[in-house]
């Protein structure tokens, strides 16, 4: 490929050189040859003329004499030469002598010319030379020579020249092919590089000057070419770089786009799904709301009805449009079971909305437009929007007519059974008690022992019936806890006092570790629980051991602990002791006289309070039973509106409403009185102790005092006497509600502010209520000092 191509630079350069050399040499050779020929011919002519002259001179005489022999002799001189033929003509043109060197030479017959000029004809050079002597012409000499010598010499010359030319051309070729490289080499290199670039599409190749220098035009060309290549390569690299960058950028952008696209798609799918879910949820919600058998009733922030589901509409006998723009309370909750109006400001729904919490009531009454009512269980809960703002309230309620009927049946059944069992037991217990007392006459020792066994077991049977009834009522939720603030130390002390005599009999020491805490619960039930636990602890402890009562206040609850040093409970039974009729030792129920329900009742009570109860091993011996009761946490505690907070011992009062202090040692009667007054919107405080009554009076100044005269500590007279010493109390209205009639002398000792007397056996609770109300009205009138009041 390299240079072999006929069109290649190298080929052409060689060809040009060779052609030029060949032409020059041929021209030179031709010239030389021509000159040679001319010179040879001149020499021949000279010879011809010289010999002609000679012969002419030699033959003058012979001719003059007409001597042919002489003529012949003159002519024979030619024999020494290479002349071909000769003839001597007479003046008349007759041949006188002839010489022929060979046979085939045609000697002219006549002398055609006689001018001494060499003529060439038919490969012969001939001359006719006149023979003149003394001005007279005697004849003519003819000499002819062939040109063989000349031709041979020309031929040999030509051969020599050819050799010379060939050698010269070879040398020229060799030289040119060597020398042309200085020109063609760089060009070929350029061409190669160019082809390489073109073929490989790469600008990395560089032309290298074969001679190593680049000062000439080609060198410059190469340099330029190389720099151009470098430039191109650089551009190419840049281009590649740009391309790569572009590609990576494109790739990156594509990836970003893909990602964005995917995200978009995902978001779109999520949104569609969410929309779908939302729609489904909405359908589901609607379905749930529409299918719910409970009534669901929503009110907006203004307290106006905004939603009512079909079940609710059916139960209330109203549709939402009928309710719109009207007060829920006025429509369905306006009165209690007896038809007494209920003030709207106490409405649980309104309370939930105002306080932003929830209230529940297991037993209330809703009214229909036709004036009928139905018992309901409901819960009212404030609703908040996403920003935490109050958005209204939702009331869910359930018609509990059927449940109530069943509960009533059950309750009746239980109480009937209980009564029916008690009636024969009363006779048995009474008869056995009288027999064993010996009041009916002496009984034999063994008979006495049997009677005592019968009495003990009758008592046990009665306890069992009581416990069954109690447990049943607590667990069925029939017993509502009458919650209030309770001092933890005080309930422990009360429970302990009730059991102190038994403990003393058994030789058990009861230690109460000091502890403080205000609880939120039913004090009677807590005392019952503690009594049960302490009783158990005593029962299962040997003499001369200690039962320790302690308590600790946590953040939200108070933990009571009753610890004994008795025989303890096996580990595996610690959790099952709270089950009904589950006594650790089967013989216990017989020998210890328990019903087997005590701990179950404790658990029910604690659970109803929202607490926990558990038993664990006491170190080093015995058992430790602990239970928790919620702490009173002030106003933040959500309290059911229907809670009987104010029916029972409470230690503080609100100052806006009138508060009545009930001093009565019969707790049942106190509770009845308290409930009656609460129905009139009064707050009540109760105490069974005269001293406690004095303390409450000085601290809280009640609006009215209801006083029983027979109190366990101070009697009523002492209480009034003390109260009179306090200027803040001496004008407080007083209602003396005593077991016996109070004589007029005593009445004067009992007066405080406006005072009324009521004897328990004569007055009903209704009388009590009206007396309290009239006393309060009188006191208010007096306080406000309005002369025209009724």
């Amino acid at each position: 490929m390299n240079g072999t191509c006929v069109y290649s630079i190298r080929g052409r350069l060689t060809a040009i050189t060779m052609l030029t050399s060949a032409a020059a040499m041929l021209l030179a050779c031709a010239l030389l040859l021509a000159r040679h020929i001319v010179a040879e011919r001149g020499e021949l002519d000279v010879q011809l003329r010289s010999f002609g002259q000679l012969i002419a001179a030699n033959s003058e005489a012979a001719l003059a004499s007409n001597d042919r022999g002489q003529a012949e002799a003159a002519l024979s001189a030619l024999r020494a030469t290479s002349f071909l033929a000769g003839r001597i003509y007479t003046n008349r043109g007759v041949p006188a002598a002839t010489y022929v060197n060979g046979s085939d030479v045609a000697v002219p017959v006549h002398p055609w010319h006689a001018d001494g000029i060499v003529r060439r004809k038919n490969g012969l050079a001939e001359i006719f030379f006149p023979i003149i002597h003394n001005g007279k012409r005697y004849g003519t000499v003819y000499i002819a020579s062939d040109q063989e010598d000349l031709r041979d010499r020309m031929k040999s010359d030509a051969q020599s020249m050819t050799i010379i030319v060939l050698v010269s051309l070879s040398a020229a070729f060799f030289l040119s092919s060597r020398l042309q490289r200085s020109i063609s080499g760089p060009l070929v290199e350029l061409a190669r590089v160019a082809r390489l670039v073109s073929r490989n599409k790469s600008f990395s190749a560089r032309a290298v000057h074969p001679a190593g220098d680049g000062d000439d035009e080609i060198g410059n060309l190469m340099t330029v070419f190389n720099s151009m290549l470098a430039e191109l390569e650089q551009r190419d690299q840049k281009l590649v770089l740009y391309q790569t960058q572009l590609e990576s950028t494109v790739e990156q952008r594509t990836a970003e786009l893909t990602l964005a696209n995917e995200e978009l798609l995902a978001a779109k799918n999520a949104a569609e799904k969410a929309a779908c879910v939302n729609a489904q949820l909405a359908r589901q919600s609607a379905l749930i709301l529409n299918s719910a058998t409970d009534g669901i009733f929503g009110v907006d922030i203004e307290g106006e009805p905004s939603f009512l589901n079909p079940a609710g509409a059916r139960m209330l006998g109203r549709s939402l449009p009928e309710l719109r723009g009207r007060s829920m309370h006025q429509l369905i909750h306006h009165s209690d079971a007896s038809g007494n109006p209920l003030p709207e400001e106490n409405c649980s729904m309104g309370l939930a909305l105002r306080r932003g919490d929830s209230v529940t009531d297991a037993e209330d009454l809703f009214w229909r437009p036709d004036g009928t009512s139905f018992p309901v269980e409901y819960s009212a809960t404030a609703m908040f929007d996403e920003d935490g703002n109050k958005a209204g309230a939702v009331l869910t309620f359930r018609d509990i007519t059927d449940r109530r009927a069943i509960e009533k049946l059950k309750s009746e059944f239980v109480s009937t059974v209980s009564h029916e069992l008690r009636t024969p037991l009363t006779s048995i217990r009474g008869a056995l008690g009288l027999l064993s007392s010996g009041l009916l006459g002496p009984v034999a020792e063994k008979g006495q022992r049997m009677l005592e066994i019968a009495v003990a077991n009758t008592d046990r049977l009665v306890r069992l019936i009581n416990d069954i009834l109690d447990l049943e009522r607590i667990e069925s939720g029939k017993v509502e806890l009458t919650r209030g603030r309770i001092d933890a130390q005080s309930v422990v002390n009360q429970a302990r006092e009730g059991l102190q005599s038994i403990a003393d009999q058994e030789g058990i020491r009861i230690v109460v570790e000091p502890h403080a805490g205000t609880l939120w619960g039913d004090s009677d039930r807590l005392i019952q629980t503690l009594t049960n636990l302490i009783g158990n602890a005593i029962k299962f402890s040997p003499a001369n051991t200690t039962v320790t009562l302690s308590g600790t206040a946590g953040e939200t609850e108070f933990t009571f602990c009753v610890a004994d040093e008795g025989r303890g409970i096996p580990e595996e039974n610690l959790s099952s002791v709270f089950q009904r009729f589950n006594q650790v030792d089967a013989s216990d129920s017989r020998t210890r006289g328990g019903s087997g329900l005590g701990l179950a009742i404790c658990q029910s009570i604690v659970t109803a309070h929202g607490g926990r109860i558990w038993a664990e091993k006491n170190e080093p011996a015995g058992t430790r039973v602990q239970f928790t009761i919620p702490l009173e946490l002030g106003e933040s505690v959500s309290r059911p509106a229907a809670d009987a907070t104010m029916l029972h011992p409470a230690t503080s009062i609100r100052h806006d409403d009138p508060a009545v202090l009930i001093v009565e040692d019969d707790s049942d009667l106190a509770r009845v009185m308290s409930e009656a007054l609460t129905r009139h919107g009064l707050q009540t405080l109760s105490t069974s102790s005269g001293n406690e009554a004095l303390r409450i009076c000085t601290e809280q100044r009640p609006s009215l005092i209801v006083l029983d005269l027979g109190l366990p500590d101070l009697d009523g007279f002492r209480v009034v006497c003390e109260l009179r010493k306090n200027p803040a109390i001496e004008n407080v209205p007083l209602l003396v509600y005593s077991a016996r009639d109070v004589g007029s002398a005593d009445q004067s000792r009992l007066r405080l502010g406006p005072t009324e007397f009521l004897t328990k056996s004569r007055g009903t609770i209704a009388d009590f209520e009206s007396l309290v109300l009239s006393l309060l009205a009188a006191a208010t009138t007096r306080t406000k000092d309005e002369p025209h009041a009724a």
């Binding site: 009363t426 009288l434 049942d668």
Partner: protein, 123 residues
């Protein structure tokens, strides 16, 4: 001082008898008894006892009805219910009627009199 007169009204003769016997033996009170509300009312009106021990669950006139009749007749004799109905709701209901006390059945025959004395504030 003459012994206190107590009227026991209960439809269960056995209970009447046990109650009468225990009050007689422990307190030496003069005890009379009736086995219906109607008979008891008549006896109360004619004899004027110092206290009435009244059963609640009786056929025809039950305890509360008998009490109402007595109150309507202006009888001011203190009444104590002697009852097997021991649930708090019942007790509250009875207290509203104006009874002086409630003694649950079964009772201890040896302390029955003490309980009555405490309720009636008899020394």
């Amino acid at each position: 001082m003459p012994p206190k007169q107590i009227l026991v009204i209960d439809d269960e003769n056995d209970i009447q008898e046990v109650a009468r016997l225990s009050l007689q033996l422990t307190e030496h009170w003069d005890v009379m008894s009736a086995n219906s509300g109607a008979a008891g009312t008549l006896l109360a009106l004619s004899e004027g006892p110092d206290a009435i021990l009244l059963d609640v669950m009786m056929p025809d006139m039950d305890g509360p009805s008998t009490l109402r009749v007595l109150q309507q007749q202006g009888v001011q004799i203190p009444v104590i219910f002697l009852t097997a109905k021991v649930q708090p709701a019942d007790r509250e209901r009875f207290m509203r009627l104006g009874v002086r006390g409630i003694i649950p059945k079964p009772f201890d025959p040896l302390t029955l009199g003490q309980q009555i004395r405490a309720m009636l504030a008899w020394g």
